[in-house]
């Protein structure tokens, strides 16, 4: 009887999931359920007793369910600790522990406790619910802390110093100077060129203006030191590398398929690849013993494990230069990766967004260079590029897909409807990148500054007894702090991270956010600093590592 009353009230949806959410709606819904039930009971005089009791029981059951359902959100409950089994779960797991840490603003978790989010009467999609459920990782929390209390030498000397965001402020002055001198014409016209509103305001090709493709292809070739000549016709431009990666994921895999991704990887990769596509990521652990290089054995093992789980692996996503480690892939590794992909008949997405941000002597080899000579692999290799890092302009949102697979390009071009670059920005970049003199100078000076900062920063850490892996690219170094964590576990790592953030006030990225299999590794981004900030940072880290030493 309770059954009929219940389903009559709900909008007639057969899905058991909605039943769950409706019943979890709290007092309001409970009342709406109970009242008609009583009506039914009273209508059948004799049945009153027999109905009121089950009704009451049902009523209490709802309360019980509701309370019970909220429990997993309580960070202290054992339930959240139980969820540590699967490797792909680790972000939420670490986040679950995080909220226990002292000194974190409670407000961070408030949206998650709101009854609306918990699945009130209004039902959102499963995708939305899972996005809302995954609480902020230490990576996000750190970024929020910096936003709330940013370090400023004069204005806020006690603020949090940003070492958690891979952005490059070292050479912004060069871009700024260029703009001041040249860019009036880029958008507004001037001299002989007239401002053409039609060229910026109307519908433009969604996959990027041809002129910009030519300019970006030229820039890519220049950044990679002319080892490859990129063809503009093979480029699809998007609003940032994030949509470029998502777009490729949509093109290459169906929901429920998987990509192999070597760990440690960039903290937001899970978002980019998994969130809306329904694709899974299979971790391929890289270890400090191999200087975090990809091992084919590990790839092979991950591939067969995925197969055993019934997952169809559609590709490998690599980052070269690696983020967060900063090492480069050598030719040999690339060839063996290609062999592996060929053998398994899967794709490779090569994320090369830091290609121009290399320093040191090691040679950067783009996957594009290899496929130019190896005809057979042309269709399975897709390169992701962006101007955010190499041109220090993440705000401009320019990403690119470079592929020789015409089918992928055709699909990606159509997908750019959802995320194309705004036309004024395209016009601006066309002018900027077409100035080859400027581009050449920028790349040179930027590399030199990057290298200098890297050497100084790593030397500073070394003084404290912190070693970094050998790296040649990116805006960061990958620091070994295994000696300073109170216990050799993710918990120990997060304790150190917490001290660095809250006691020393430096925001760094713990390896667990990058799914590093070994605890105790941290990513330090140094390109948001000025050279004179380095001693301040090192001093702050010293305060923490010294207490750790004395404890150890």
């Amino acid at each position: 009887m309770t059954g009929t009353g219940f389903s009559r009230l709900r909008s007639p949806e057969p899905d058991p999931d909605t039943k769950q959410t409706t019943s979890g709606a709290g007092g309001g819904t409970a009342m709406r359920v109970i009242v008609p039930l009583q009506g039914v009971a009273q209508g059948r005089g004799g049945l009153v007793l027999g109905s009121v009791i089950p009704c009451a029981l049902f009523y209490f059951l709802q309360f019980y369910l509701k309370r019970h359902r909220n429990e997993p959100k309580d960070p202290n409950s054992p339930a959240s600790e139980k969820a540590t089994g699967s490797p792909t779960q680790s972000p939420s797991q670490s986040a679950g522990q995080l909220t226990e840490l002292p000194g974190l603003p409670r407000s961070l978790s408030r949206p998650l406790l709101s009854p609306r989010t918990a699945g009130g009467p209004v039902s959102l999609s499963g995708r939305a619910n899972s996005i809302l459920k995954c609480s902020d990782s230490p990576y996000d929390i750190g970024l929020i802390r910096v936003e709330e209390d940013p370090y400023d030498e004069l204005g806020n000397p006690d603020g949090v110093i940003q070492l958690g965001l891979a952005e490059n402020k070292l050479s912004l002055d060069l871009v700024k100077d260029w703009l001041a001198e040249n860019a009036r014409e880029a958008i507004l016209g001037g001299g002989r060129r007239e401002l053409n509103v039609n060229a910026i305001a109307t519908y433009r090709p969604f996959d990027g203006l041809m002129d910009l493709k030519v300019a970006v292809a030229g820039f890519m070739s220049q950044v990679m030191e002319k080892a490859v000549s990129f063809k503009p016709s093979q480029l699809v431009l998007t609003a940032g590398a994030t949509p470029a990666i998502e777009m490729l994921s949509f093109c290459l895999a169906d929901a429920g398929n998987a990509f192999l991704v070597p760990t440690p990887y960039y903290p937001n990769f899970d978002r980019d690849v998994k969130w809306r596509t329904g694709i899974e990521i299979i971790h391929v652990p890289c270890r400090s013993a191999d200087n975090f290089n990809i091992s084919i054995t590990a790839l092979d093992r991950a591939f067969s494990q995925a197969k055993k789980r019934g997952l169809k692996v559609r590709g490998i996503i690599t980052s070269n230069p690696s983020n967060p480690v900063g090492n480069l892939m050598n030719r040999e590794t690339i060839y063996s990766l290609l062999d592996f992909a060929r053998e398994k008949n899967i794709h490779i997405i090569s994320n090369e967004i830091f290609a121009g941000s290399t320093h040191g002597n090691e040679e950067f080899v783009s996957m594009a260079e290899i496929i130019e000579s190896e005809d057979i692999d042309r269709d399975r290799v897709h390169i992701v590029y962006g101007l955010s890092n190499d041109l220090s302009s993440p705000g401009f949102r320019v990403g690119a897909i470079y592929s020789l697979n015409e089918n992928v390009l055709a699909a990606a071009r159509k997908l750019t409807r959802f995320s194309s670059i705004s036309a004024p920005t395209q016009q601006l970049l066309i002018s900027m990148l077409s100035d080859t003199e400027f581009v050449k100078r920028f790349i040179e000076i930027n590399r030199e500054r990057l290298g200098r900062m890297y050497v100084r920063f790593v030397a500073g850490l070394q003084e404290l007894g912190i070693e970094c892996t050998k790296s040649n690219g990116g805006f960061y170094c990958w620091a070994d702090m295994r000696g300073f964590i109170p216990s050799y576990s993710e918990k120990g790592e997060l304790e150190l991270w917490n001290k660095l953030l809250n006691a020393a006030k430096v925001n760094v990225t713990p390896g667990s956010c990058c799914h590093c299999i070994e605890p105790g590794w941290f990513r330090f981004c140094f390109t948001t600093l000025k050279e004179k900030d380095i001693p301040v940072v090192i001093e702050r880290i010293r305060t923490v590592v010294e207490t750790c030493k004395s404890l150890g």
Binding site: S11, P111, V122, C251, K414
Partner: protein
Amino acid sequence: MVLMLRNQELLSKIATSNGHGEDSPYFDGWKAYDSDPFHPTQNPEGVIQMGLAENQLCFNLIHEWLLKNPEASICTAQGAAEFRDIAIFQDYHGLAEFREAVAKFMGKVRRNRASFDPDRIVMSGGATGAHEMIAFCLADPGDAFLVPTPYYPGFDRDLRWRTGVKLIPVVCESSNDYQITIEALEAAYETAQEADIKVKGLLIPNPSNPLGTIITKDTLEALVTFTNHKNIHLVCDEIYAATVFSQPEFTSIAEIIEEDKICCNRDLIHIIYSLSKDMGFPGFRVGIVYSYNDAVVSCARKMSSFGLVSSQTQYLIASMLADDEFVDQFIVESRKRLAMRHSFFTQRLAQVGINCLKSNAGLFVWMDLRRLLKEQTFEAEMVLWRVIINEIKLNVSPGSSFHCSEPGWFRVCFANMDDKTMEIALSRIKTFMLQHKEAMVPKKKLCWQTSLRLSFSSRYEDIMETPGSFMSPHSPIPQSPLVRART
């Protein structure tokens, strides 16, 4: 070759399916235009684009503003000082100034009868991205949205392609001027139920694309009640809000909510907005999701990383929309010019015997060519459409691509060209109609049409100032004062 095939199998269903919807005549027309585009001097015989809902009538205002405010585009000596902060700004919340300016603009467009909270403004890659984002947030693969027909062909792509969501048509008919009725809604809802499809929401474009009509307040209230009753979402696509150029006035869903007269669960209400139509900036790729549901705001915000607007453009728009004087003038002037162009166009069509659905918004008219069909079928509609595109050389969009339930209707855009091109398009139509005169059955003129022509007698300012006079039947019409007014 073998390898190519093998690899093609390796692509996803999304990549290999035709979910992009570009196989429809709507896009075929664009291709025809692209292969032979009209140009007044270089290609005067080319295809004139009347299939693109672009608003170019006020570009000169934008042009002037950009020249007057060079610092806004940050790329000048004056603006470069801001560059450092702007270039590296990549927060998916968007610049605070941008959100504030857009919120204010959204209010202004609705004559300040509703206010918008900057914290609920979520950015996305154009209205296309906004629609997809809301579909991602509200529905799972296999779930459905109800959409009244005829609807914008792009919805099939925007809401369905990557999300796996379905669209269920709510059939509207010309017999009642395509008004959406609760009966039709109930029928569509029933159909879904019978097919065991979970309906997650109702999508209402208001003003409608392709009809150019607006939804009355009463109907809106009824829709709110309907969706609340069914506990489904109501997504209002108001991207044409500022194109409402004459009476009756536009009512936004936001007003209904703020009035709070009818019982409404705010968590179910979402607005899609964009600057592509109202400001004529499709190239800026600014789409907005404005939701009254906190969870949707927070989820959509996290998703906006997939379609962020460049910070340079955010800054430019923030500066422009914060200029109250400019915005106020722009909104008034844009309405005025649209009204003029619309009445000019419909009047001239009427002279050659073509009727359009009465409309007061949008950048297009819904043209009734049923009398020109050999028989009342969609095949005959396609035959006529091919004649229009190949012989008259106009790219218009056939009703079938909008899922219209009746053959013989066409959407014709009128705001994406200058006066001269418009004249050429009209003269081509006239020639064609004269040739096909025998095919036409003389029909009684509709009264609204007469009044439209009559409205030309008064000065267009009067039309705008006292919109009531727009409908009043007085005095005869001299030929096109608009041409004089605009040259």
